[in-house]
């Protein structure tokens, strides 16, 4: 089978990895499309850096229950939230399975549970491992596990959902964001689903606990089905709905194809493959990454780089030194602080990454990174590949540059000019 070659390999690596890494592009350029995609879907390395000790649920809940010390919960959560960020950012910067991380981030955003609400860094760490385990696995299993995940139970008030006082928060978002999407259910379905999930909570050990005493054993009517449902039943019914696969397929479009409205025929195809494989994420991704749309030249540069793509991608692809104070703060102010989603909708991404404020910060960051250690024969210059100006442009930009770039500049200057071009902001 035909080899991908540099330009196509560059496209695949920069969209599926974290940054257009020179060596990786050159390695992939000798593979066929199928080989390359198969290798991606086999990324399994789940080793993550060690994490400092995080306060236990037991400790945090006893602090919370002590009126005089309740304020400490917020302080600890704030500090440990930063620890978590540093931990994951470090992994994002160094991992050798960037596609796995990208998909972990995808699920982290599909199922947000911010530190601000949960205040349990420990639970969020566990949840992050869950996402990584299932990142290329099965969506049905992931959904079932997330419904019982302690961080999620806190984030969407599942732990407060009891027979006497049903709380609809989780039920609403399961329907609206995790499966069907708005317009495919009624308010009554939310109420009935909430009743079915009653009793699912977190015990003193910080584990999922099905408190049958708080479960509503009455008959529920949900999306036309009737029965004494529990949470498992609700999820099973949701997984039978066509919309569930479509919602995920649409998100994949925005993750891998472009920022515009998805093509409904393609979404149908992908959703059928997804459902037909009983929600195999790898099967769906295989369809996406081998699709005509993914490889269509008109979609090159069709995505806007997320702050993580931009900052971490740049630091992985180019030999610029990591700023001394790290990159977490930049990610936060560009709007993609991990474990810190702005709302249950997660980061909307796409064109929403770009505001007048974020342009200021994105530009300043690229200026800082590309402007450091600027000297001929310096460490940056030495570690840039010795290639033609044209190849340099093909490597760093997905489209033609917006401004005139002089390809005969010295390589560090040229890299800087390309990184500062607006075209560097798209992928």
């Amino acid at each position: 089978m035909a080899k991908l070659g540099f330009v196509e390999a560059r496209h695949l690596v920069s969209r599926t990895g974290l940054g257009a890494e020179w060596n990786e592009i050159n390695r992939v350029s000798h593979l066929s499309l199928n080989q390359a995609v198969t290798q991606l879907l086999q990324q399994r390395n789940q080793r993550v850096p060690a994490i400092p000790r995080l306060s236990s649920w037991h400790k945090m809940s006893s602090l919370y229950n002590n009126i005089g010390r309740r304020n400490m919960v917020r302080r600890i959560a704030m500090n440990e939230g930063k620890v978590l960020q540093t931990w994951w950012v470090k992994h994002l910067l160094t991992t050798r399975t960037p596609f796995l991380e990208r998909m972990t981030l995808f699920w982290h955003n599909h199922f947000p549970s911010s530190i601000e609400k949960t205040k349990q860094a420990n639970f969020l760490y566990q949840q992050n491992l869950l996402f990584r385990r299932h990142a290329l696995g099965n969506y049905g299993s992931l959904l079932r596990e997330i419904a019982k995940d302690p961080a999620m139970l806190l984030y969407l008030d599942g732990n407060l959902n009891t027979k006497k006082k049903p709380n609809e928060n989780f039920a609403r978002e399961v329907l609206e964001l995790f499966t069907l999407g708005r317009g495919y259910f009624k308010e009554i379905d939310i109420r009935e689903a909430a009743r079915a999930f009653t009793g699912w909570t977190v015990n003193k050990q910080g584990k999922f606990f099905n408190n049958v005493a708080e479960h509503d054993n009455g008959v529920k009517t949900f999306l036309g089905h009737r029965g004494n449902f529990n949470g498992e039943h609700i999820i099973n019914i949701l997984l039978k709905q066509k919309r569930t696969a479509e919602v995920i397929a649409e998100k994949m479009w925005h993750e891998f194809i472009n920022v515009s409205r998805p093509n409904p025929h393609v979404i149908q195809q992908w959703a059928n493959i997804f459902r037909g494989s009983n929600y195999s994420i790898a099967k769906l991704l295989h369809a996406v990454l081998t699709s005509k749309e993914f490889w269509d030249k008109r979609n090159r540069g069709g995505l806007i780089k997320s702050p993580i793509d931009l900052a971490i991608g740049t630091l992985r692809a180019l030999p610029y030194p990591l700023p001394r104070r790290g990159i977490e703060h930049s990610l936060n102010i560009m709007g993609q602080g991990v474990f810190q989603h702005p709302s249950v909708k997660g980061w909307s991404g796409g064109t929403d990454w770009i505001s007048t404020q974020s342009i200021l910060i994105r530009t300043a960051l690229m200026n800082d990174l590309s402007g450091s250690r600027f000297k001929v024969g310096g460490s940056v210059s030495r570690r840039l590949p010795n290639v033609s100006g044209k190849r340099m442009q093909e490597w760093l930009l997905a489209t033609r540059p917006v401004e005139k770039v002089d390809l005969t500049l010295g390589k560090q200057r040229l890299a800087r000019a390309l990184v500062l071009d607006p075209a560097y902001q798209v992928n």
């Binding site: 472009n258 540069g301 936060n332 770009i354 007048t356 342009i359 200021l360 300043a364 489209t399 033609r400």
Partner: protein, 390 residues
């Protein structure tokens, strides 16, 4: 002006400050004449301890040690059994001058008790079960003026909130100085149609360049006027209001500024915390108003507070209050018709969470500002107008 001129002028920025003769020679800058300053009270401000219903027996019954008493706590009496929290004393003269309005019971049906979701509702003027993405001002300001629409100022990360919208020209900043510094890196670019993504980015960058150029020019030419904006107490709100006052005096042509006072999520030991936050609010706004008056701008400014929700009617076991629904909000300005509006919620009739039922929909405030201040029709006229603007 091309890039080179921009740089040239930027380099004059610091010099302009020491050349007041040159500056004054150009006359008082053209300023916006219908400015709204939105003050977000972040965390959910307790309306009952802000505008105290000191004749409501339920208030004292529900809030034993938290309730404020007229004599004991030296409340500032307004009328109809309502009095101001003593920490707001710095603002009491506006009541006497008939320039302070309070709207009671402001909320919306089926009040949501989540900070994030509820501030989204306030920001976008949606209903409890409706998700909208654009801020409420996106349905108002484009009809009122072209060009710059608003500036959100906050130390740390400012959020556009009500100013967010694809049809709005709004920016966020920490303060004008750091904005000028960052904007220096922004080049004007040609709009590129290679992809929708690139079109969006180059459009925004062009817009930012234009707005940034205007703001920095305005600030440069009239820099001397920022000296009029002083006397603010330390603290985040004071700094933000100082920036806002400076930009108004320099003639930056934003009709809306958004600032934030934090510290209202008072689940525990509320008295001290809320008083502190209200004190900063009162002193910041009073200094701001004094500056506006001195510069004949007080009739051209309207200040409104808002918050994601109010708080529970009853005190909790920690000497604080949990998330609630309706709250009281304040409007200040030279053209405000002072008084009490809306209706104090019935504390005898609480919902299943122990929260009051709202009496005034928050969207009627938006409708009033749209219609009576900017003369623009809004989608919320059906909620009724409130006559707090002359």
């Amino acid at each position: 002006m091309d890039r080179r001129d921009f740089l040239k002028y930027s380099s004059l920025l610091s010099a302009a400050g020491v050349l007041p003769e040159f500056v004054y020679a150009s006359g008082v800058p053209q300023r916006q004449d219908k400015i709204v300053v939105l003050v977000e009270l972040k965390g959910g401000n307790d309306g009952f301890n802000t505008l105290v219903p000191y004749r409501d027996d339920y208030y004292y019954k529900y809030r034993k040690h938290l309730a404020l008493e007229l004599k004991k706590h030296k409340l500032f009496e307004l009328k109809n059994g309502k009095a101001l929290n003593p920490s707001l004393k710095a603002l009491s003269h506006f009541w006497d001058a008939g320039q302070m309005a309070w709207i009671e019971g402001v909320g919306y049906p089926q009040g949501v008790l989540s900070h994030f979701r509820s501030i989204d509702i306030w920001d976008t003027a949606s209903s409890a079960n409706q998700v909208l993405s654009d801020g409420w001002l996106s349905k108002v300001l484009p009809q009122y003026k072209k060009g710059l629409h608003g500036i959100a100022v906050r130390e740390g990360q400012a959020i556009l909130g009500p100013l967010d919208g694809t049809n709005l020209n709004c920016i966020t900043m920490q303060n004008p100085k750091s904005f000028e510094k960052q904007a220096y890196y922004i080049k004007d670019v040609d709009v590129s149609r290679q992809t929708a993504a690139l079109l969006h980015i180059t459009n925004k960058q062009h817009q930012l360049y234009e707005v940034g150029k205007k703001i920095t020019e305005q600030m440069r030419v009239n820099r001397a006027y920022t000296r009029g904006a002083r006397g603010f107490a330390k603290g985040k709100l004071g700094h933000s209001l100082q920036s806002v006052a400076g930009m108004i005096l320099c003639g930056v042509d934003a009709p809306v500024y958004k600032v934030t006072q934090e510290g209202f999520d008072t689940h525990t030991l509320q008295l001290g915390k809320q008083n502190n936050a209200l004190y900063q609010l009162a002193h910041g706004l009073n200094t701001f108003a004094t500056i506006m008056k001195k510069n004949n701008m007080w009739d051209k400014v309207l200040i409104m507070t808002y918050s994601e929700f109010g708080r529970r009617a009853k005190v909790n076991k920690s000497g604080g209050t949990d998330h609630g629904t309706a709250s009281a909000h304040m409007v200040l300005g030279g053209r405000v018709r002072g008084g009490l509006y809306g209706k104090h919620p019935n504390l005898a009739n609480l919902d299943e969470n122990g929260n009051v039922h709202h009496t005034t929909d928050f969207r009627s405030l938006y409708a009033t500002i749209g219609k009576k201040w900017w003369g623009v029709n809004t989608p919320w006229q059906g909620y009724g107008l409130i006559p707090f603007i002359k």
